[in-house]
């Protein structure tokens, strides 16, 4: 494509670029700058004392290592599981593969802390499976709390990301590549390692990065199941909202460190991915083969086992929501009691869970499409800056975004805290990088000359965009929006910092009920959330032609 717009021009798109830049300045750069300032200040003067305190006390410094360790392992395991499943399901005919895919997507689309909560109910000290096994066989289950538990939750919940990436990459691989390899005597496992894996490596790395970023910024899982294994998101939360001691400067310092770590991982991934980048041209897609005999059995067994384990937490949560409770304890029998009790505690949660994500989504889609447009079609220094700034939130954990927002907007000149707007702003900032990337990809598929045709026929620039380019982008953008919607309704890390009684969302309500020990109510609420997610995904499957999910 000809690069034709290197110079900045103050036309409609020039103004759009400037407006977006100003918005980013106010809602991202200003809060982050403030965070940086607080990290290096004791209220009056420049100081390094927060950093010194962090590194001199293992109680704190260990959390960074913990976060990194568990997230790295989660990424590694997710790659292992995701690549295996993705490869098998792209290469072979698997019975019920549509349903399996749906389950895998469901597994990743729920809030991670709900998974953690379910695993505690299953494998915890008094979990069902734990008691069953020890009662029957005297087997003691390995400790679910701490590192193991977090890793289990992260892996079962995040491997689908790698899985979806791999399936995407495999669908872009030409069947003749595999046949050529086979022709030269390279088959099976050898072909996988010498041909397939190198070709999908960049995609796998991108998936691994996404897993790492999600894991490292997750707050609810380590909070619930981590116990002694503290990650930095946990102490960040405690330091910032802690009842014992509040130290905002210190929390800011930890935030800065967390951003730095994620950035290092982000850039090393980018480097590795760019080195292994290949371009593929698919003429003929890989045709799925039918497996026979033992190998068919083993492959099916593996896939079904993995999918079952990853969907089990949600199934169990739904199951427990129908159990009879007495106070906080489950008793024998089934009832709708938890649902009845739920309503009094919901407040405005359900409305909020519809309104806040819906508003955010509207803004996200609008901004993402505009940003993608200026970044792809109006390349100049300024739009390049917008493109770069828009990616910053990708490496910022949700908790940090929350802290930055509160710090910036709980004071004059702009007071937003306590309202719905600040939650919308935070969600928009967090979700934008993903939607921009997918919009950019969609836009790159639309040839420039279609728009030029509209201009040559007398359309104004804005009209050409809204009447031609946007409608052509719409199906892809809309499918992406549904997935964004699902992520937004299950968001916790930012909401937990920004919510007030009026703006409490369903995830916050679930979290609160779990913390208070009202498991029945928590399960009922989580079931409501699961149903919302499920309906959204069904809608997505309807709309998206090939059911391809990109995140």
């Amino acid at each position: 494509m000809r690069q034709n717009h290197r110079r900045f021009r103050l036309d409609v798109w020039g103004w759009t670029t400037i407006t977006i830049l100003l918005l980013y300045g106010l809602f991202l750069l200003y809060p982050l700058g403030l965070l940086l300032k607080m990290a290096f200040s004791d209220g009056m003067h420049f100081t390094l004392s927060h950093f010194v305190r962090f590194f001199s006390r293992p109680y704190y410094s260990i959390t960074l290592i913990n976060s990194f360790k568990v997230s790295f392992m989660a990424a590694l395991l997710s790659v292992l599981v995701g690549v295996t499943l993705g490869y098998f399901m792209s290469m072979y005919q698997i019975a019920g593969s549509r349903i399996l895919r749906m389950c895998i997507v469901m597994a990743t689309m729920s809030a991670p802390f709900v998974g953690a909560y379910a695993w505690i109910m299953l494998l915890g000290r008094s979990g069902v499976i734990t008691r069953f096994l020890s009662g029957l066989f005297g087997i003691t289950m390995p400790n679910i709390y701490g590192f193991n538990g977090i890793l289990l939750v992260f892996t079962t919940q995040l491997f689908p990301l790698v899985f979806l990436y791999v399936q995407g990459a495999m669908s872009k691989m030409d069947a003749s590549l595999l046949e050529a390899a086979e022709n030269m005597g390279c088959t099976g496992v050898k072909r996988f390692f010498t041909v397939v894996l190198p070709l999908i490596a960049p995609t796998v790395l991108a998936g691994a990065l996404l897993v790492f970023v999600r894991a490292v910024s997750d707050f609810g899982t380590p909070m619930l199941i981590g116990e002694g294994y503290r990650t930095f998101t946990v102490i960040l939360y405690n330091e910032f909202v802690g009842e014992v001691s509040q130290n905002k400067g210190f929390a800011s310092a930890i935030s800065i460190l967390a951003i730095l770590i994620t950035m290092v991982v982000y850039f090393s991934q980018n480097l590795a991915a760019s080195k292994s980048a290949v371009s593929m041209n698919v003429m003929r897609r890989i045709e799925k083969k039918k497996l026979r005999g033992l190998s068919a059995f083993l492959v099916h067994l593996l896939i079904y086992a993995v999918v079952f384990i990853s969907i089990l937490p949600q199934l169990y949560v739904v199951y427990t929501s129908f159990l009879k409770t007495s106070g906080q304890i489950y008793v024998k029998g089934y009832s709708m009691q938890s649902y009845a009790n739920m309503f009094s505690r919901l407040g405005r949660s359900i409305q909020n869970t519809l309104i806040i994500p819906a508003l955010s989504l509207l803004v996200v889609v609008l901004l993402a499409v505009l940003i993608a447009y200026v970044a792809v079609r109006r390349r100049n220094a300024l739009s390049g800056a917008v493109d770069m700034i828009s990616m910053i939130p990708y490496v910022i954990p949700g908790t940090v975004v929350g802290i930055a927002m509160i710090s910036a907007f709980n004071r004059k000149p702009l007071v937003l805290t306590g309202g719905m707007l600040i939650m919308v702003v935070a969600l928009v900032v967090r979700r934008l990088p993903y939607t921009i990337r997918s919009s950019v990809a969609i836009l790159q598929q639309i040839p420039l000359y279609v728009e030029e045709a509209a201009l040559s026929l007398g359309s104004s620039k804005l009209k050409a965009f809204f009447e031609i380019t946007l409608p052509m982008m719409a199906p892809g953008v809309f499918a992406g929006a549904i997935l964004s919607w699902v992520t937004l309704i299950s968001e916790l890390s930012t909401a937990i910092l920004l919510y007030t009684g009026r703006t409490q969302t369903l995830t916050v309500a679930i979290y609160t009920q779990i913390i208070r020990g009202n498991y029945g109510i928590a399960s009922a609420m989580a079931t409501v959330l699961t149903v919302m997610t499920f309906i959204s995904l069904l809608l997505f499957n309807r709309i998206s032609k090939d059911g391809d999910i990109t995140l």
Binding site: R2, A453, A454, L457, P471
Partner: protein, 357 residues
């Protein structure tokens, strides 16, 4: 309707100058073709006229009006793109009506004009279809109707036939030529296919490396090409080095040819372009005087037979002759080649100037 005048046009991508000091005049109502190898700057120039490429220097005029700083949407051009650029989410009819709607014409006029052009392009039966259900040739017709219905001052066509198969290409060539004459619109047509250019154009500008090499009618360009590049790019030719001495051309040291028309050619080394059909093959027994050569190979193509020969200088030449029923020539035979002197072209030693123009 407009004539187009381009003065000292300049195009830069970053530090790279693609076009510089280009001058051009396109007459009102003619079909003007920019012809050249890929990367010669022909599409770049077309897009500068359209307004999609910035202009780094020079002046572009439609009639007397300078259009350098006019938005593409205000230039009143119709453009047909290489990949048609049909809007995939709009029906054929809505595609064609798109430009009229932008001009805010009354509804019934839009409907009338759209119908007229759908009919002219013979696609009225597809009016309500989406473009994805149309063949390449039909999409091409939609693109043409859409470009013409707005009554543009200038029609720009960027390799419009390159995505069609050979048969359809011939058909569309005729259609484009017919409609262009019917509407009488100034048209700038870009192609790399010389046969297409020859068959369709009033005037051809042969471009290479950002420069116009030759502007002329198809006949002029083929018969008296401005330089060796044009001679080799248009049709096929054999380029031989020779010497002029007082109106006599010496080829391969020994063979002499002369013509009174050559008297003005300065003495010294020259390059000579002899097209394959401008050689005549004589058997040794004829006793003709000319270039001695040995037949290496021949290819029978029905109407014509191509002969591949080697001159005594070692140069390989190609000769095309109308096929005869019983060819007596065989590889290895020695022959004499003579020239159709009135047709060949003599260029300066560096190939930049045709002495016979």
């Amino acid at each position: 309707m407009s004539k187009i005048t381009i003065k000292e046009a300049k195009k830069q991508y970053g530090d790279v100058t693609v076009i510089e000091g280009l001058n051009l005049e396109i007459r009102d109502g003619e079909l003007f073709t920019l012809l050249g190898p890929s990367g010669c700057g022909k599409t770049t120039l077309l897009r500068m006229i359209a307004g999609f490429n910035s202009i780094e220097g020079g002046d572009f005029y439609f009639n007397e009006e300078r259009i350098n700083d006019k938005e593409p949407s205000k230039r009143n051009i119709g453009m047909v793109f290489q990949n048609y650029a049909i809007f995939p989410h709009l029906t054929v009819e809505k595609n064609v009506a798109f430009g009229l709607k932008n001009r805010k014409l009354p509804k019934d006029e839009i409907r009338r004009e759209t119908a007229r052009f759908l009919e002219m392009m013979q696609i009225e039966q597809y009016a309500d279809r989406l473009p994805e259900n149309l063949s390449g040739g039909q999409q091409q017709r939609v693109a043409l109707a859409r470009a013409l219905v707005i009554k543009p001052d200038v029609l720009l066509m960027d390799e419009p036939l390159s995505n069609l198969d050979a048969k359809l290409r011939m058909e569309m060539r005729q259609a484009i030529r017919r409609i262009q004459r019917e509407v009488g619109i100034t048209t700038v047509y870009v192609t790399h296919d010389q046969e297409e250019a020859m068959s369709i154009s009033d005037t051809i500008a042969v471009m290479n490396a950002g420069k116009i090499q030759h502007i002329g009618t198809p006949r002029e360009i083929y018969q008296r090409p401005a330089n060796v590049f044009v001679a080799t790019f248009i049709g096929r030719t054999n380029v031989l080095s020779g010497r002029m001495e007082k109106g006599t051309l010496l080829l391969v040291d020994t063979a002499r040819f002369s013509r009174t028309a050559w008297n003005g050619v300065p003495d010294g080394p020259v390059q000579v372009s002899v097209r394959p059909e401008e050689f005549v093959i004589h058997p040794l027994s004829d006793g003709a005087e000319g270039l001695p050569a040995v037949l290496k190979d021949s290819v029978y193509l029905g109407l014509n037979t191509h002969f591949y020969l080697r001159l005594s200088s070692g140069d390989a030449v190609e000769v095309i002759k109308e096929s005869v029923l019983d060819d007596t020539l065989h590889p290895g035979d020695s022959v004499i080649l003579t020239l159709k002197e009135e047709k060949i072209n003599i260029f300066s030693e560096d190939g930049s100037k045709n002495y016979l123009r």
